[in-house]
Amino acid sequence: MSTVNPAMPQPRGRKTFREWFAVPKNQQRVVIFTFAVVPVFLLIMFTYYPFMRMIEWSFYNMSYTKNRGFVGLKNYLDVFTRDELFATFRVSLYYMAGAVVQIALALYFATILSFKTKFTAFYKGAMFFPFLINGIAIGFIFKFFYTRGHVLDTTLGFFGIPLESLPYWLRDTSVNNWSLVATSVWKYMGQNMVLFSGAIMSVDTTLYEAAAIDGANKWHQFRYVILPSISTVLTLNVILSITGSLSAFEPPYVIAAMGSNGTATYFIQMHQTAHVQHKVGLACAMAVVLVLIICICTLIQKLIFKYAFRNAGTDTKPAKKGVL
């Protein structure tokens, strides 16, 4: 052990690094630390630090090149009182409605494809494909798709619907938000479906047999076997879709000329505020408000799902026992 030598200033009981490192527990600590330090540093540097600065800026009246001083909560008051800012959440309701349709469709297709179907892989691939296309490219595709007399109008023409009875898909304010929501559903439905079918595949197939023996039809199998088993993925998908619908940006920006004609979502308005009006402080406050709203939405969903699936655990376990 360490020699007691008055000439050496080393304090008693202190081990050299080599000795300290020889202890397996300490080695483990070093390994954990060295592995963790890089991602944690990146996370703090590129996520938490900018986020903190954003919160700080939300209390200032500032542009990119100039800071005109602390204004307290004025920016937050403006978010709620300036009509053109908060009213954009109304547009988000369209996207939320779209999200519900999207989840329902995804669940439907995923369930159908989980039973014995021909060309399963092809259908899955075809439906997932739009998700792989860049959002801006999708924007340009649909811009032409919706242009008067182009793809959509001629396709409907094949079915005998005359051009005169069709609306202008992007001009008429009664339909233009639905047109944009449809592109968003088209893009993200496939992704939801793949997540669902992944979860459904992990359901124990013996459960279906057991359910069939008990006299359950396909709907019962879906309701009492599949749905409870995939509740986690369902919750995740709903949260992602709702937050996604609050932060919709690409469809109105690319297809509808930067959110003109009443299609501006909260994100578009934030972009306008920060980059056109150069009100960075106000835009930061808008972003903070959005974070809070997303948190609240997530919390509400959690509670709803907790209530909806309160028997999920007890439903499946006895069934399993029955098989055994």
Partner: protein
Amino acid sequence: MKKILSLVLCLMMVLSAVSFASAEATVPTIDQIKLGEDYTDLTATIKWLTHRTDLVNGGQIAGYIAEFNKVYPNITVEVEGITDYAQDSLTRLTGSKDWGDMMGIPQVEASEFATYFTPMGSLETLSEIYNFADAKAFDGVVYGIPSTGNAQGIVYNKAVFEKAGITELPKTPAEFIDALKAIKEKTDAIPLYTNYAAGWTMGAWDAYIGGSATGNANYINNDIVIEKDPFSNKAEGVGPYAVYKILYDAVANGLIEEDYTTTDWEGCKVMINNGEIGCMVLGSWAFSQMRDAGPNGADIGYMSFPITVDGKQYASAGADYCYAINKHATVENQTATMVFIKWMTHESGFAYNEGGIPINKDGKYPDLYAAFAGIEFVPDTAAVDQQLVDDLNNDSMVLLNRGGDKKIQEIIEHAFNGTKTFDEIMADWNEAWTTAQEDLSIEVK
């Protein structure tokens, strides 16, 4: 004695070296440079950020640089064309000090010029030599020299106007709307193409409310700041009200494209060239692009905005993007860039080739201004308090000439859907303007 002599010699050499060094250490102002004589042996590589991607890809810019290198062979100019220039250049400028050496000044507040750019000379001296020298000046110092000058008018198709039986170009809003109606009745062309979807083409309407609509050079940067309710109808057929009313009336009378939400900027150039469009409200810079977009370039004409103030027509004129120099670059690079800017302004013929108003005062005007005979150019004077104008526009969110595209798009939406009358829209703008004036404690007259 010899020692003294050598000492004196030594001293002289040191002194001359010092003076030489100090001459090297400062960047000359643009008026001090004699093109073809000064700095011909200067070696530097400079980087230029430009919004003219079309000229970069088309090789015209390389042509200018090749000409420049005949005189200044050791100055290498590298060019980067940026598609989304207004946004990207601002990000680069504020993000780092080594973005390059030369750029067109983006939307930076005038008080911030000195933070980023090299002074190019005093406003007093340069306004003798250049048109629009005050475009990017602050406190009597010029920070940017315009690349070319634009006049504000309307680009139109002569053949379409002829077919519609319009023999004389309209001079008042009423005559203009009548002309559009004639085009609609007698031809298949779209009378007025709005370019709604492109966005910035809508904000371009703001450029007409100053000199063109009032004949007052002081209007857009100074008078409007202290004016009460500038968007009201104060005199028949003049002022900002008349300008935006033309757009509203054209939409309300169905004189624009059928589906304005799917307009196509690149496509409109070909359409007007083919005679499918009657006219478009765009600055003179657009003329050359429309002319070159197809085989019927000779049909494209340019006319002044149809507003007559007390029997006389005016046309707002102003600077395009202004070349500025990175003050954080080395002295050699700053000097080389200054030389290049001077060469571009005096020798390149850039403004003429682009159909612009010449920047150096002895330059010649391109032919397209033929229709502007008898029309007075009104270059907007700089703001007395640039900061205040910026603040007023930003706070009111009216954003005149500052990317306020949305408010013009809304004019079209309201006119088309009948959701608001024109007077209601103008009342909204007046209210926002007044509130901002009060917040900034501006004394309104």
